[in-house]
């Protein structure tokens, strides 16, 4: 038994555990909810994950550098609103340009966070707690509590959520889902193969050593927040496409979802570790549970938030316990 623990890395173990948890969740709800294993439910979950996934990917990069971004939900809201407003005025903008603009607005907001954390030396939790409120208040003030409605949006955007990329055995993969997946995969490949991206791990793993190794940790942290903002911008665009109607509360509470997905997906809050495959599975698990609870009659859907909170705590607790017992197992194996 201990042999397995020696060969399989803790990260792979966690991915296996996540896959099992996801499977168990799906099996459980399929016995509770009628028509659960249907293409409709698959669509419901995947399009919902598509909105959360870019947020979670950005959050993961930030957490990897030993920081946290609480403002992503507010950035999402601001970007969704501004992009919707822009499209109402200029409906002929090219879709690629629209996505780029959404991500740029997000990146700008992220740059404010990043500059304050990296060079202002203000702890990330304070900076982003501040901007969480500031960006949201800006949205309320700026929008004058008016709502963006589907009617003002161009047809291509309204139709986007229903557009299929591929269909396999009756299960559709929507274009929005593919967009979110692409973002996740690009970031994942970059983290593994781009020399510069390895610095996110280095800075989170040991900031002092990073300085000694000639890395500028401030710049790395800044870039992490800019990326997080840009990805929140992408989520903002996907949110706009999915719902069409944008009010001032758009994306409220999404910071909790993004942190849950990242942490459940194995990104250590101590920094330095995390994989995008884990984040993808974390986002899937968190959103599957979230979406299933809304359809489950036995439990009030108001428990969803509580469950998110519980998941975050459980993931971190399990991490601590698992790391400790794994270390013990290895110590014993080493002596034998």
């Amino acid at each position: 038994m201990t042999g397995i623990f020696h060969r399989v890395s803790p990260q792979s173990l966690r991915l296996i555990a996540l896959a099992l948890a996801l499977l168990a969740t799906i099996l459980f709800f399929s016995t509770q909810i009628d028509g659960y294993l249907s293409p409709r439910m698959f669509n419901r979950v995947t399009t919902s994950v598509a909105v959360v996934l870019p947020l979670a990917v950005g959050q993961a990069i930030v957490i990897m550098t030993r920081n946290i971004d609480l403002s992503v939900g507010s950035i999402l809201g601001v970007v969704a609103y501004l992009t919707g407003q822009l499209l109402a005025v200029l409906p002929d903008l090219h879709p690629v340009l629209v996505v780029t603009l959404a991500m740029s607005i997000g990146a700008l907001a992220g740059a404010i966070n990043g500059a304050l954390v990296a060079w202002g030396r203000v702890p990330a939790i304070i900076v982003t707690l501040g901007t969480l409120a500031l960006f949201r208040s800006f949205l309320v003030e700026y929008s004058d509590a008016k709502t963006i409605t589907t009617a003002s949006l161009p047809a291509w955007l309204v139709d986007l959520p229903q557009a299929n990329a591929v269909t396999v055995a009756g299960f559709d993969l929507r274009v929005t889902v593919v967009l979110a997946l692409a973002a996740c995969i690009i970031v994942g490949l970059s983290l593994a193969h781009l020399r510069w991206a390895r610095r996110f791990y280095a800075v989170g793993s040991n900031p002092d050593a990073a300085i000694m190794a000639g890395i500028n940790p401030h710049r790395v942290v800044f870039v992490a927040f800019v990326l997080s903002g840009a990805l929140a911008g992408l989520s903002g665009f996907l949110f706009l496409a999915k719902f069409g109607n944008i009010t001032v509360v758009a994306g409220m509470g999404f910071e909790l979802k993004s942190i849950a997905a990242a942490v459940v997906g194995g990104v250590s809050i101590m920094g330095g570790t995390g994989s995008m495959l884990g984040v993808l599975m974390g986002a899937l698990l968190v959103d599957t549970i979230d979406n299933s609870l809304t359809r489950w009659d036995l439990v009030s859907e108001f428990w969803r938030e509580a469950l998110l909170g519980f998941l975050i705590m459980a993931a971190v607790t399990m991490d601590t316990v698992a790391t400790r017992s794994l270390a013990k197992l290895r110590a014993k194996g080493g002596q034998a």
């Binding site: 781009l194 020399r195 791990y201 280095a202 793993s205 000694m212």
Partner: protein, 502 residues
Amino acid sequence: MTLPAVLDLRLISKSFAATAALTGMSLSILPGEVHAIVGENGAGKSTLIKIMTGVHQPDSGEIRIDGQPVTLRSTQEAQAAGIAAIYQEPMVFPDLNVAENIFISNRAQGAFMRWSAIYAEAETLIAQLGVTLDVRRAASGLTLAEQQTVEIARALSLSVKVLIMDEPTASLSAHEVARLLAIARALKDRGVAVIYISHRLDEIFRIADRVSVIRDGQLISTKPIAEVTEDSLVQDMVGRALDSYAVKTAANPHGEVALSARALARAGVFQGVTFDLARGEVLCLAGLVGARRTDVALALFGIAPATTGQIILNGAPVTIATPRQAMDLGIAYVSEDRRKLGLAMTLAIRSNISLASLRKLLGPFGLINRKAEADMAETYRQQLAIRAADTTVEVGKLSGGNQQKVMLAKWLETKPKVMIFDEPTRGIDVGAKAEVHNIIRALATEGVAVLVISSDLPEVLALADRVLVMREGRQAGILPIEDATQERVIAMAAGQTERPAA
């Protein structure tokens, strides 16, 4: 001596606020030499290293590399110019693997990670150092010595001309030290200049070609190693002759047995530890790193309690399961890791000293009597010669030796009957070391039973009345001080399977 210097510092001065750290410091490093630098803490060594590695910029003076004047504005620029450093606390990334740690700052490799090439090159570099190490392993599981090897390999990968080793052996066991010195020689044979900074003079005589002494921010002397003796070095360092920097006073008369351990063990960690410690006696635990000496102390202090065996205090068997119990029984533990276990770095000296004995300072309504606290701290500041303007200074701002004294004061105030010291002089300079030794001996003279864990053999021999040698979690034997020599202790600590270190 016609070789041109690879690194030349000319009249470097550097001040911080009103304090001059370096004044007109000059130093010339030749290619392929091991150049030792010695000096007390506060002599300016750290500032000198930081200037050479680009962390600080000099206020005046010139740095030349291969004869060319250079400006080093960051560690990155220093590395590009061929200067790198490794430190006492290795700077590795625990979550990255060995190979990636080695190449993390290597810019000559393009934007993409070519993993197979990286592994192959890392293996070559590690092999050149004469060490075996799996380059795919995560750095988090490596020993200190292995982490240093990774750092040296990193420096090699940058094709350094000058490698600075700052107190590299402070935490290493004897055979790891031997291996590090072998690596230093290998570097030297490749033409790399090694700047070797250490408090351990015996190592300097084993490895250095030349030795420079600095004091008060100035170069006192640079001499070939053959022209200096330990005495002359110490004299240059402190600026006065020290007749006894590690000479023991006569053994104290011992009182009755204060603390006994009988077949003490903690499952999977250590076993079979049996000793009697008398009042007024100093018992030293010697052994290689990994011999589990600290674990014995942690068991006696209740942090990681023993699972079998007996602890007898003043003739009565006791159970110690928590530090609180140990403290109530009169046992104090001065830990090795000042930062993590010993001191609250951001608090004032006085708050640290009173921390373990706050109960005594409680006034009406259970509030802390500030005046009494200040007075008590001030007494210790004078008695132990803690170098700080007053006791409101933050502990984090003190030098290592003075931090150690604050920690001593904290535990002395609990008036312990048994005092355990874990590496009491690690990383502190010769002068402060002698002071700490005197304090420990004085404590014993007052009738305290003292247990000292030390990896510094000369220190063990200077302090101990008896030496308990441990090997791989077992007690290898107890030597009376008359029979304890460096060779015998090392032979016992290393056992038959290990070759005794030279």
